[in-house]
């Protein structure tokens, strides 16, 4: 595995007002791996992702400590915040089709970054929809509304949109909670194909999903990183922490 880390989080802490959601989180994500993050609800998984692309800035009462570096650069010190966000593709738990056409949903991010030539946009839209395994279903109705798609299709549209700004890291936040198992499997296949090109952070509350996909898995509990290890170890009978064992075997959570 490449020792040069893609993302390096050091002693990350986060609090909303007086409510601490993350404490002393440190980990590294390596290029082209699928990095799983598991943990029960309220363990701080989503907040962690929001720190990565600095959308946490939109919560005015959030206080963050520690550093996050992407490719060695501290994200607190980037000049173009929007370029940072484009480096990271983010897929939310519930599919969000923006109220515009399927085409515009995917072309929106490139447009925001200044790409305006129709041919470039067409290429980008087709490539992203293919990558998200949605192209064949929507190629004849690219200009109908994105919000009219089914839930599973909208989630793939969301993934296509997250890929449309050519991110180097793709973060998926419990992407499968609102979609059917068949679509989930299709997206999991998509992720396996994408790993050749980008780094993937997979937050999930389905521990088996992390087991299927992740190279390494981190277990987050109450805002603390309990354990981080190769996925086989986490899911073995002897992870380092008793809590990890109990969680992945469904004894609590």
């Amino acid at each position: 595995m490449n020792p040069q880390s893609k993302i390096k989080v050091q002693d990350l802490g986060l609090a909303f007002g007086s409510h601490e959601v993350l404490r002393h989180i440190s980990f590294e994500v390596f290029p082209h791996e699928i990095f799983g993050i598991i943990g029960p609800a309220q363990s701080g998984k989503t907040s962690l992702l929001r720190c990565l692309n600095r959308t946490i800035d939109f919560s005015s009462d959030a206080r963050q400590t520690g550093t996050i570096a992407i490719d060695g650069q501290d994200i607190r010190k980037v000049e173009d915040l929007y370029e940072l966000r484009r480096k990271i593709g983010m897929v939310a738990p519930l599919p969000v089709g923006l109220p515009m056409s399927i085409y515009e949903n995917v072309a929106y991010a490139p447009r925001c970054s200044g790409i305006s030539r129709k041919a470039d946009l067409d290429d980008r839209v087709e490539r992203c929809l293919r990558q998200a395994a949605l192209w064949d279903e929507v190629k004849d109705r690219l200009h109908s509304l994105g919000t009219r798609l089914s839930g599973g299709q909208q989630q793939r549209l969301t993934i296509a949109r997250a890929l449309s700004h050519e991110p180097e890291v793709l973060c998926l936040d419990e992407f499968s909670i609102a979609i059917d198992p068949v679509t989930t499997m299709r997206i999991e296949e998509v992720l396996q194909e994408l790993r050749a090109q980008i780094t993937i952070i997979l937050v999930t509350n389905l521990v088996q999903q992390a087991r299927r996909l992740a190279d390494r898995t981190a277990f987050l509990l109450n805002g603390e990183l309990v354990e981080l290890n190769r996925t086989e170890v986490i899911f073995s009978d002897h992870p380092a922490s008793r809590k990890t064992y109990e969680y992945v075997h469904g004894l609590f959570g």
Binding site: N53, T55, F58, S60, D61, Y82, E83, L84, R85, R86, G89, M90, A92, L94, V96, L98, P99, M100, Y108, A109, C112, S113, L145, T147, T158, R161, A162, S164, H165
Partner: protein
């Protein structure tokens, strides 16, 4: 419910009693029908005074209503003739007040809703907006008199009156615009931010297109309320009488005083003796017509924009 569960051991009586009403269920159903009829009556009660009012006014006004009544200036000490100067004056005032308050109000609302963080300064602005929206119009009138007529030395003029109306409507425009903006789901905004859109790119692409119908509806409703205001313009720029040619579309300068329908109606019914009743009714009908026309516009606009809304 309880008896049904207790008799569940006996299949026949369980099947028979499963859907039979217990006293609790009967009470619930009775309440349900009472509530439904009560709500229906209240909704229906809305329509009665409206129809009564309209019918009464139109019947009373019928002898006077004509195209000439609209286009003629009042003559013979306002006892005869039409209401053209007042109609034009009201349109002047409303359009100018709208032109001043709508852009400022909408932009302020966008700032407060989309950009402002939760801090003491923005909370203070919010408090100011809410309190301003509740200030009685007579107080706005006195403020306009002091601020625009005297301090800014615009004199008693259309300008002063329109500014006063604009100040009065602005907080309501801000409030209604904010409500329309807040109705756009936050998840849309987050989706845009996540792909690297700036705030403005987000506002332009998803927030405004999906709230514009609500914003416009709010503005137009506020405008139609403005058309009926009397106190603020009486103190700042509206007069009982101003000589204007029949059908003249541009009779007033910014610095002129003007007539207005609301004040004209007040004058006809309380200040001028010997005005025929039908003239008073007709003036009221015209004022009501202007307001209803604007409301109708807002409804048409809303239907049109709704049809283009995408979720």
């Amino acid at each position: 419910m309880k008896p049904a569960i207790q008799s569940a051991n006996d299949p026949v009586s369980a099947a028979a009693s499963r859907f039979s009403a217990t006293p609790f269920v009967r009470r619930k159903l009775r309440f349900e029908s009472i509530a439904r009829w009560l709500f229906f009556l209240m909704a229906a009660a809305m329509i009665v005074p409206l129809l009564w009012l309209l019918g009464h006014l139109v019947m009373g006004a019928a002898p006077s209503l004509s195209l000439n009544f609209l286009l003629d200036p009042p003559i013979k000490g306002m006892k005869e003739g039409g209401i053209w100067p007042a109609l034009v004056g009201t349109i002047y005032l409303v359009v100018m007040a709208l032109a001043l308050s709508a852009p400022v109000g909408v932009l302020a609302a966008v700032y407060l809703n989309e950009y402002a963080r939760d801090n003491w300064f923005h909370r203070a602005i919010n408090m100011a907006v809410i309190n301003l929206a509740g200030v009685p119009s007579i107080v706005h009138a006195l403020f306009g008199l002091g601020a625009f007529v005297y301090a800014a030395q615009f004199g008693y003029s259309i300008l002063s009156a329109a500014l006063t109306l604009a100040i009065m409507t602005m907080p309501v425009v801000i409030t209604s615009t904010r409500e329309a903006l807040a109705a756009v789901p936050r998840s849309f905004r987050e989706a845009c931010w996540n792909v690297g859109a700036t705030r403005w790119q987000t506002i332009k692409a998803v927030v405004l297109p999906n709230s514009i119908s609500g914003i416009l509806t709010g503005i137009i409703l506020e405008v139609s309320r403005t058309a009926g205001e009397t106190a603020p313009i009486m103190f700042t720029g509206a007069v009982f009488f101003k000589a204007v040619e029949r059908g003249d579309l541009f009779p007033y300068q910014l610095t002129d005083q003007c007539m207005a329908l609301s004040l004209h109606l007040f004058a006809l019914s309380t200040q001028v003796p010997g005005v025929s009743e039908s003239t008073q009714y007709a003036t009221a009908v015209v004022l009501l017509g202007v307001v209803l026309l604007m409301n109708a516009t807002s409804i048409v606009l809303r239907i049109f924009l709704r049809s283009r809304m995408k979720w």
